[in-house]
Subunit: 144 residues, 2 copies
DNA sequence: GGTATTATGAGAATGATTATCATTCGCTTA
DNA sequence: TAAGCGAATGATAATCATTCTCATAATACC
């Protein structure tokens, strides 16, 4: 249920000014945008090394910066690592409790609600994440 | 913005049968339900040790079990650890990109949408998470 | 160009998470 | 109640993700 047809509508992303991304930070972001699945820092590192010289620490630092910019989001994977994905594509997931597999939602059901929330509390919202958990079709049957 | 007034409406939680929780697993769940903030495994371990004898590995195993049951959710914290919280209270957050602080939403704006999503894909939804990211009031001013 | 500032990389250090394995617990059955 | 069995537990080691350190390189600013 990968949604490969999603296009990047808006490259000049965050509504707040972005301070300047270094070459490496841009490279990290670019890789994340190419992938259809969320990547761990180590996986990201592996992909990047095929393209250019880069240090693992730099990858982590880039992720930290990008998260602070609101350009990348992270969630905890099933093996104790964090999984990272770009947020400009408004990715929302269905995640199976049994096999851990994630499926992309092609539409965000919350999109407009953010406005209302914004009005009720002193908080400037830049983006949101939504994740549904349950059982995917195969796991509904063959459960351990 | 802690929401301490939330009460547990439903102790017999997941719609799918729950296989049986051990004493330790129940203890872990109980502590999480008492806390107003999400806890790391280590913090959880610290709190539990004040009440009873328990091993760190058991805490991790209990968390894994509880997550599989749909009773606990995890998200990645700012220090490379995972933060765990009970899901029966339907916790949804506003998280500040600058200071990392999380604020509880007292109302879930998505609650009914799950039904629609369920109908459109072969996936049985048990719960969902929603998180908004942006800047909290203080951080809107004093930004580095 | 010259200097200050920031980013980078390699590797060490830290710390979270998982695996191992012997022991204990909980439950069933005789 | 006793014996037996499978799952749970705890201590500890092992693993691996993440962060820190520091010397160097790149970049910005004058």
């Amino acid at each position: 249920m990968k949604n490969d047809s999603l296009s990047q509508k808006n490259t000049t992303r965050p509504t707040h000014h972005l301070p300047h991304l270094t070459r490496n930070q841009q490279a990290v972001l670019a890789v994340l945008r190419q992938q259809s699945d969320a990547l761990s820092a180590q996986e990201l590192y592996g992909v990047l090394r095929e393209q250019q010289a880069i240090g693992l620490a730099t990858v982590y630092r880039a992720l930290e910066t990008l998260k602070l910019q609101g350009l990348v989001q992270s969630r905890s994977g099933t093996n104790g690592e964090a999984l990272h994905s770009p947020i400009e594509q408004d990715r929302h997931y269905l995640t199976c409790l049994h096999c851990g597999q994630s499926f992309l939602l092609d539409h965000c059901p919350v999109h407009d609600l953010a406005v209302q929330v914004h009005l009720s509390v002193p908080f400037k919202i830049y983006y949101h994440t939504l994740e549904f958990f349950g059982l995917c079709e195969p796991c509904t049957h063959q459960r351990s």
